[in-house]
Subunit: 396 residues, 2 copies
Amino acid sequence: MMVTAVKTRKRTLKAKAPVKTRAAILPPVHDLPPVHGLPVNQILKGDCIEMMRSLPSASIDMIFADPPYNLQLGGNLARPDGSHVDAVTDAWDQFDSFAVYDRFTREWLSEAYRLLKPNGSIWVIGSYHNIFRLGTMLQDMGFWILNDIIWRKTNPMPNFKGTRFTNAHETLIWAAKSEKAKYTFNYRAMKTLNDELQMRSDWVLPICSGKERLKRNGTKAHPTQKPESLLYRVVLATTNKGDVVLDPFFGTGTTGAVAKRLGRHWIGCEREDSYIEVANERIELALPLDESALKTMQSKRAAPKVPFGSLVESGWLAPGAVLTDKKRRWQAIVRADGSLAVGQDTGSIHGMGTKVQNAASCNGWTFWHYQDKDDAKNDLKPIDTLRQRYLLAIED
Amino acid sequence: MMVTAVKTRKRTLKAKAPVKTRAAILPPVHDLPPVHGLPVNQILKGDCIEMMRSLPSASIDMIFADPPYNLQLGGNLARPDGSHVDAVTDAWDQFDSFAVYDRFTREWLSEAYRLLKPNGSIWVIGSYHNIFRLGTMLQDMGFWILNDIIWRKTNPMPNFKGTRFTNAHETLIWAAKSEKAKYTFNYRAMKTLNDELQMRSDWVLPICSGKERLKRNGTKAHPTQKPESLLYRVVLATTNKGDVVLDPFFGTGTTGAVAKRLGRHWIGCEREDSYIEVANERIELALPLDESALKTMQSKRAAPKVPFGSLVESGWLAPGAVLTDKKRRWQAIVRADGSLAVGQDTGSIHGMGTKVQNAASCNGWTFWHYQDKDDAKNDLKPIDTLRQRYLLAIED
DNA sequence: CCTATCGTTGAATCTGGTC
DNA sequence: TGACCAGATTCAACGATAG
């Protein structure tokens, strides 16, 4: 079996281009010592299992794998405005059964196990369609799970038909090769990145869009391109400078681009020519992360928004409680879902405030009041004071 | 095999207690129709698998299960043949203990599958130690996963050693009994609860602490008591009033307390006397919500259907009236039979909306607009507002 | 140049009743 | 069981265009 190494174009060639790119102007940032016996900083073209078999055992420091999710989609899906949703229907995501998917998974995970150094670690990412199978198989193969990480998307696609909860996250699993392994975890770097608080297992990051999203002929080059901010955190947390990172499902090369920026070696496996081409161009141009990408890496410390319903389900205000305005002109009953009922009319705290006053708008938090039982005087307090207390209670 | 029903104490008994509880003073608010052939609103004392075997097939609307997941951590673990399993030291033992855990899981999940009604659904909760095995087994048994939900803890325990990411979440899986099942999802109630945004798959809720955390002799009564807010959302989202909710790992009865409050029947399985005692006391004190508070915002799907023709024959819209789309690109004439005419073409409000836009489908109620005479500004309103008024008018 | 509005789009297991 | 059709259903971010 032949390994075809598709090298990224040489910097010297790029410098002759008529328009100087920033990559051509800037000096190379890292000067890493070479790695012997490994085809580093290349894309290996071909089936990932075969490509991995061509590499020597115990040679890789970290593996990041974004395998097919095995989505099992029904027919076409339309948005409420009638437009068509461009779904992931590529051949590479089609498997006949869980058994077929499991066999495929076991094969590439076996190679991953062999390739990892004893103290190396692996990351896999998936959704509920496949992540449970990945996790089970990791455990059965002797990997030792260190964390499951939730990527909470700030801007997920909604559930257009209102049939389920909005699927607003993906799950990553981080595992060592054994229970006793001395894996790399850059605790200090993570804490710094997170405003001096321990980095948690839930990461709030936007999906990959805008200028970061790679395009070919005006359409997305890859259906499931991951954001660089996600890989940045993964690579920074669990590798050291000069380490070798392997991505068996390289796609458009997010892992390679981030590894290059952070001074790590990378190896990618990819079958599709079109992805390889895009990835090589991208990595060649890889620069220090741009402003917007850096910004998303910092934690967001803004106070969380509190839906009125949270007060109800957390028991701060019981369904059935009576709210009034400050002058007790109107009464409203709190209902189980956090809506208010005024006579036959129902709606949100803001909507009902607007309605009873026949106003253009209304801030329900300050308009509606409740009677505090602990208060001897029959004073009314705006429900906003409950929100303040709730915020204090849930504060980290 | 005997089923021991440990009933919650009767209200009349409670009334004789020296200290009157709130539950004793208030009249019972719900009057749920009885459920025949099921020991509802009781704790079944004993092994959960045996208890579940005593219940009839296809009798349960929703199952919430918080199974133990410390089995592989070196506690006393017995193989099915009774022999002792040594503490987990290597991958083989680890695999061995997973096999035991899997067998246990398969047994109670089989019973859960049998007990669920065809359109019922199941919730399981766990951490990375066991959730992947639960998810895989659910899929292998034919359950159809609807969502995985992340309970994002606002106040998790820090990782004291700084060796990993702070484990700040737990994972829930929500699954139907089959792909085609018509499961219950109260979309509108969830949207209302979340300030008019779709409820997402990541839920931010505090852990159970403070006054809610049940104590015995000054220490926590149960090591993993779940917050009521979590169960509140689960029960409100995926059951209807009067449904039967089963919790095979009842513990201190959070599921029962919330079910009672929300007007659902509950059944709990629990082995430990101390938990049963605490749970019964707690549920006895839980206050059911009254009818009006229990009501939630209804989706249009649940509202009675209004044929467009009804608006015409009731005089809300005269034959000959002119409808347009929002941007006045197309005009349609209302005809006496409730059909629309656009030029020579005629059809339903939906059909004509579809046709003029050359779209795949169209909701005529929101597409077609009329001009309100009472409105001084020449604003167009969707004919859906007429339907809303009609619905209010015919409501008694 | 700034702001408002409109159109587009993203790993999605995405309707239900009747004939 | 499949075809038909009434009708319910979306959030955040980005880019282009208009004012």
